[in-house]
Each structure stands twice: as structure tokens, then as C-alpha cells.
């Protein structure tokens, strides 16, 4: 798990802005979010509910729910710009080049079709193979994600499987057309604690095997710490900090990240998640001037209330958006 550098990134998100027009004005749900994901890298994306993690995933894959829309910025996939593609071209990227895993395995599968039907349909949508070949691939895939007796169970309906097994099926579906990037949106939140680690392992291993990158969206810093190569921290639709996971966990620079890290339960002390920072994240229609975190920040000073900090590069490849570090480095 080393920071990967000097290679062109697989995915590059630049100054992404997502807006929701409402009757009472336009809400800015993502505000100039930038990050890269390198080949084979696992990027963890953390933040509280409503910070914009899932929206980032939906925006990349081109499935924002109307009236939400990309109002600015660019998304590049291996040097090709994909945020302005036609509907049909974007459809061909979904599943084929970017796979997605959703939160709730119980509702992610169509109850009226067998697992085989859903897998074969997906494979044959993207890859020109015979029904028989697709079925063979589907069985292999199910076997790989850890479904026992895959050849027999493939013809079962989703409701025959337990929650954990269904999430394996969902992962198999997301990977069925061999995408280069998998966006996993809280893939374990809906599962029992006992099953969570296994699902994460399956996802990580199979992606590593195929050289696919992963964007792992979660609010669980514990999962990030164990799984990700780098971590990006979102707050109120803005990037607070991004950097190698070990550095960020051990020595967070942004006060918000530091608060988050304090919330990881350890063997010696238990703590409730995300409760160590007083107050709560502002609503999208009430984001304060300057740094969005300033009302809750323990190290706030005047400038934080007036000017918005840019994401700046720090030593060790880390980027932080905080005025505390402005004097030490120059702007990116």
C-alpha cells in the first residue's frame, strides 16, 4: 500500500460542481471537488451523511437524479472526458468501464429475474459472447465472489440468497463486464457486522486481481483505514483533505479530519462515530461564508470566516483545504 505517483491517473475529477435547482434557489451539493484515482488504487471517500459522497459517485457515472445536474468541472477517464458524453456513449461506459455497487443488496436485485438472467443480460450487453459463454463467465464470477455451489445456485432468484450472499451477487454483477473502476457506495452499511469485513475483502481482492481501481464510499473510517490506499474527506460538498491513508489517519491535518479520526473505535477505547465534533454539518442552503467548517472548528480564526480556503498541496503528496497551512506552502 504505497502512494502511487507519476503515472497518469485512471480517473481524474476536476473542480466538479453539482447543483440542484429548487424553488428557493439553487443548492450547490458539490462545490469544486477535485481528486484522482490511479490504476489499481483504492480510494476511500469519507464524510458525514449529506457531505456529497454518493453524489460524487452518481455524477461520475452519469446517473444524477433529476433535477440534479453537473454545473461545472470535468471528469476524465483514462484521458477521455466523460462528463459531457451523449446518453448512449455514457451508457456504454457504465458497467463496461465503471461498475457500481449500491448500499442495499436486498433491493438492488430485480426480484423477478434469476441471478443467471441478470448476470447474462449484463455480460451480453457489453461483451459480444454467446449465451453459453456468458453463462460460463457468470458461474465463474459467482464462484470467485464466494457463492458456494455457484453452478447450481445461479438459477435461483435473489430472494433465495441471504443479505451477504446477495451483496456478493451485486459485486459479481458490477464486475461482470470487467470494468476498470468500481464505485462501491456504502457496500456494507446494510449488512450484519459479521458479514461486512468479508464483503470488503471480496471486493478488494477481486479488484486487485483484475487490476481494477476502487472508489470506496463510506462513513466508516475503520473500513477506510484497513482497505484504502488513499482517502478523500468531504465536508459540505467540498474536499477537506486528501492523502495517503496512513498519513491521514495517523496525523490528520484538517481539523475536521482530525475530529473524524478521533471517532475511530480502538481496542482500548470505544467511541461513537462522528460524535466528537460538536455541532452538525450545515445544510446546503446555509453553508457559512469562508470555510464551511468554521462554526465547528476548534482552531478557527478570523480568516476562516471570511475567505474560502483552496485545496493546497502539502509535503508527502497530501492536499488540505485549511488556512492553518496556507503560510507553509504555496498554492497548487
Amino acid at each position: 500500500m504505497t502512494a502511487i505517483s507519476n503515472k497518469p491517473p485512471l480517473l481524474s475529477v476536476r473542480d466538479l460542481v453539482v447543483e440542484f435547482p429548487t424553488r428557493r434557489g439553487t443548492l450547490r451539493a458539490l462545490d469544486q471537488v477535485s481528486f484522482d484515482i490511479a490504476e489499481g488504487e483504492v480510494l476511500g471517500m469519507v464524510g458525514e451523511s449529506g457531505a456529497g459522497k454518493s453524489l460524487t459517485g452518481a455524477a461520475i457515472i452519469g446517473l444524477l437524479e433529476p433535477p440534479g445536474r453537473i454545473a461545472g468541472g470535468e471528469v476524465w477517464l483514462r484521458g477521455e472526458r466523460i462528463d459531457n458524453l451523449s446518453v448512449e456513449k455514457m451508457r456504454r461506459i457504465r458497467g463496461r468501464r465503471i461498475g457500481m455497487v449500491f448500499q442495499d443488496p436486498l433491493t438492488s436485485l430485480n426480484p423477478l429475474y434469476t441471478v443467471a438472467e441478470q448476470l447474462i443480460e449484463t455480460i451480453r450487453t457489453h461483451i459480444d459472447v454467446s449465451e453459453k459463454e456468458a453463462r460460463k463467465r457468470a458461474i465463474a464470477l459467482l464462484d470467485r465472489v464466494g457463492i458456494p455451489a455457484a453452478a447450481r445456485r445461479i438459477d435461483d432468484y435473489p430472494h433465495h440468497f441471504s443479505g451477504g450472499m446477495r451483496q456478493r451477487v451485486v459485486i459479481a454483477l458490477a464486475l461482470s463486464a470487467e470494468p476498470e473502476l468500481v464505485i462501491a457506495d456504502e457496500p456494507t452499511t446494510a449488512l450484519d457486522v459479521s458479514g461486512q469485513a468479508q464483503i470488503i475483502d471480496v471486493l478488494k481482492d477481486i479488484c486487485a486481481e483484475r487490476g481494477a481501481s476502487v472508489m470506496l464510499i463510506t462513513h466508516d473510517m475503520g473500513v477506510i483505514a484497513e482497505t484504502a490506499d488513499r482517502v478523500a474527506v468531504l465536508y459540505a460538498g467540498r474536499m477537506a483533505e486528501i492523502g495517503p491513508v496512513r498519513d491521514v489517519v495517523q496525523a490528520a491535518e484538517h481539523p475536521y479530519t482530525a475530529g473524524l479520526m478521533g471517532a475511530i473505535p480502538t481496542l482500548t477505547q470505544t467511541a461513537d462515530r462522528l460524535t466528537q465534533i460538536p455541532g452538525s454539518m450545515p445544510r446546503l442552503n446555509a453553508i457559512p461564508q469562508g470555510c464551511a467548517f468554521n462554526p465547528r472548528c476548534p482552531r478557527v480564526f478570523d480568516r476562516c470566516r471570511a475567505e474560502r480556503p483552496e485545496l493546497i498541496a502539502r509535503a508527502s503528496g497530501r492536499h488540505v483545504a485549511c488556512w492553518l497551512y496556507e503560510t507553509e506552502t504555496e498554492n497548487v
Partner: protein
């Protein structure tokens, strides 16, 4: 599976027996069956004889048993008004009603599902808006008024289509007289079929639309899109199939209503079907025909319910397994 079918059949038989009790009570207690069958000049002794011959002096359970036995064999006695066996009357008019009901049912289903899907997928465009507004009016208009207005416009003013009757009919087999094989028969069917089907179509359309919007919001549809399936595969392969599962039940029950509403349509268009016969029997208190019609309608409803259940069972895999696993 077999146990499930058996249970449903037993339930159906119980419903039919209940209706038979009502029909029997109607037959036995409404007016005096003997007085309705004989002329003024019949003597008291002769009346008593007929009473005895009809079994009207037997204990009620025996009479009921005989009634059911005869009903099962299709014997509902003789119409007071027309002095013909009731079953003969009904059978000769059944094809007209069934053809009308079938055509309007099919029209209602296909247009209902089509418009429902269209208005769900193209929310907010002007055509969807117009379809929805027209459907609102369609729900509020009484059926007979729709028929009368259609006659006025298409038969009286434009003179495109006939306003009454079945047109020319030909026999298929021994007793099935069909209007579907002649041009005038088909022309005569158009207005009644629209009248009968419009209300059902509106209901099906609104149901499909609501259900489809619900399904389009589900996670498995989002996941299907995220896997890059084409819009067609997502909308029709996935969303529509899931939409139709609950729609089947209600649509099936609507088919029963179509038979019932055919009473109105047949009267408006003087369509020589069972419904028109029933209306006459109500007007003239022709009890044997009323009793037979009651049984017939109940049978139609029970059979349709049964078919709907089986269909539901066939379409939704969750039902199959939950039941079998519940039984162990």
C-alpha cells in the same frame, strides 16, 4: 402448488354455494312461483298439483339440494316472461356478451398499459398531460352517457358507425353466433366496445402509471442503469415486468366488472346479450332469469379470481418459494 390450487377451488365452491343460497331464496320466496307460471283460469287443485310436482312442498334443504343439482346441470327452470328454458335463453345470448366483453377487455388492457407506461416514462410532456386530463373526465363520466354521446357523434352526426344491434352474424359451430367475421358485425362492435372499455382503460392506465413511477424509483432499476443496460431493457425488460405484477390482479378483477357493466352498454346499444336480458328480467320480475344471471355472474367472478391467483403465482417467483418454504 397443488395444495394452493385445491384451497382456492374449495374457497370458490363456498362462494358459489353462498350465491346459490341467495339465488335459491330469490327463486323460492320472491312472488309465488306457481302463480307466475300458470294462467288465471287454473284451478286451485291444479295449482296444488303443480306445487307438488315442482317439489315446493318438500323441506327447504331438499329443495335447495334439488335447486343446486339442477343448476349444476344448467337447468334454471323456465322464464316467466318468455316461457322458454332459461339456460337456452342465456346460451343464445352469451356469445354476444362475451365477444363484446372480450374485445373491450383487450382494448382496455392494451391501451391502458400503453398509455400508463407512456405517461410514466414521459412525465411532463404535453401529450402525457392531455392523456391524464382526458382520463380524469373518463373516470367521472357515467358509462351510459359515454355511449349516448358516442352514438350522437359517430352514428347520428357523422353516420360512420351503426348505433344499435350486432350487424350481420354468422354461426361458428352449432350455437355460437359471431359478429366478428362480418364487416357490419365488426363495425357494430366498435362503439359498444369503446363505451364498455373506456372506464376500465382509464383505471388500468392510472394504475400502471402510478405503479411504474414507483418501480422506476427502486434500487434495482438504478442498479440496472448503473450496469449500462439499454433504456429499452431497463424500462421494458425490468420496470414493466415488475409493474405488471400488481396490475394483473386488479386488471383481472376489472374484467369481471366489464361483464357487469355490459348490462349498461347492451341497453344503450340494444346489444342482444345477456345483460340486456337481465335488465328485462329485473323490469318484469322474471325470477328464474334473475337467479340464473346471478349464478352466472358469480361464476364469472370466481373463475376470473382463480385465474388471477394462478397467474400471480406464475409471474412472481417470491410467491412460489415463500409458500413452499412456509409449508416446509
Amino acid at each position: 402448488m397443488i395444495a394452493f390450487i385445491l384451497r382456492r377451488i374449495v374457497q370458490s365452491v363456498i362462494v358459489m354455494l353462498t350465491v346459490a343460497i341467495v339465488a335459491f331464496a330469490l327463486f323460492r320466496f320472491v312472488g309465488d312461483p306457481v302463480a307466475s307460471m300458470v294462467g288465471q283460469e287454473t284451478t286451485l287443485a291444479e295449482r296444488a298439483e303443480i306445487r307438488q310436482a315442482l317439489g315446493l312442498n318438500d323441506p327447504f334443504p331438499v329443495q335447495f339440494f334439488n335447486f343446486v343439482t339442477r343448476a349444476v346441470q344448467g337447468d334454471f327452470g323456465v322464464s316467466y316472461r318468455l316461457q322458454q328454458p332459461v339456460m337456452e335463453l342465456i346460451l343464445s345470448r352469451l356469445p354476444a356478451t362475451l365477444e363484446l366483453a372480450l374485445v373491450s377487455g383487450v382494448l382496455a388492457f392494451f391501451f391502458g398499459v400503453g398509455f400508463g407506461v407512456y405517461t410514466a416514462l414521459r412525465r411532463g410532456n404535453w401529450l402525457s398531460g392531455s392523456i391524464m386530463t382526458i382520463s380524469l373526465i373518463g373516470v367521472s363520466l357515467p358509462t351510459f352517457l359515454i355511449g349516448v354521446l358516442l352514438i350522437w357523434v359517430f352514428a347520428v352526426e357523422l353516420q360512420w358507425l351503426p348505433s344499435f344491434g350486432r350487424g350481420d352474424t354468422v354461426y361458428i359451430g352449432d350455437w355460437w353466433r359471431t359478429g366478428l367475421l362480418t364487416e357490419s358485425g365488426r363495425a357494430s362492435l366498435i362503439l359498444p366496445a369503446i363505451t364498455l372499455g373506456l372506464y376500465q382503460m382509464t383505471l388500468i392506465m392510472r394504475l400502471v402509471r402510478a405503479e411504474m413511477l414507483e418501480v422506476l424509483r427502486t434500487d434495482y432499476i438504478k442498479f440496472a442503469r448503473a450496469r449500462g443496460l439499454s433504456n429499452r431493457a431497463v424500462n421494458f425488460g425490468h420496470a414493466l415486468k415488475n409493474t405488471l405484477v400488481p396490475v394483473i390482479t386488479i386488471t383481472g378483477l376489472q374484467m369481471g366488472s366489464i361483464i357487469a357493466f355490459s348490462i349498461i352498454t347492451e341497453t344503450v346499444f340494444q346489444w342482444p346479450g345477456v345483460g340486456a336480458l337481465f335488465i328485462r328480467s329485473v323490469q318484469f320480475v322474471d325470477v328464474p332469469v334473475m337467479a340464473a344471471y346471478l349464478m352466472l355472474i358469480a361464476l364469472v367472478f370466481v373463475v376470473i379470481n382463480l385465474i388471477v391467483d394462478l397467474l400471480y403465482y406464475a409471474v412472481d417467483p417470491r410467491l412460489r418459494v415463500d409458500r413452499s418454504s412456509a409449508r416446509g
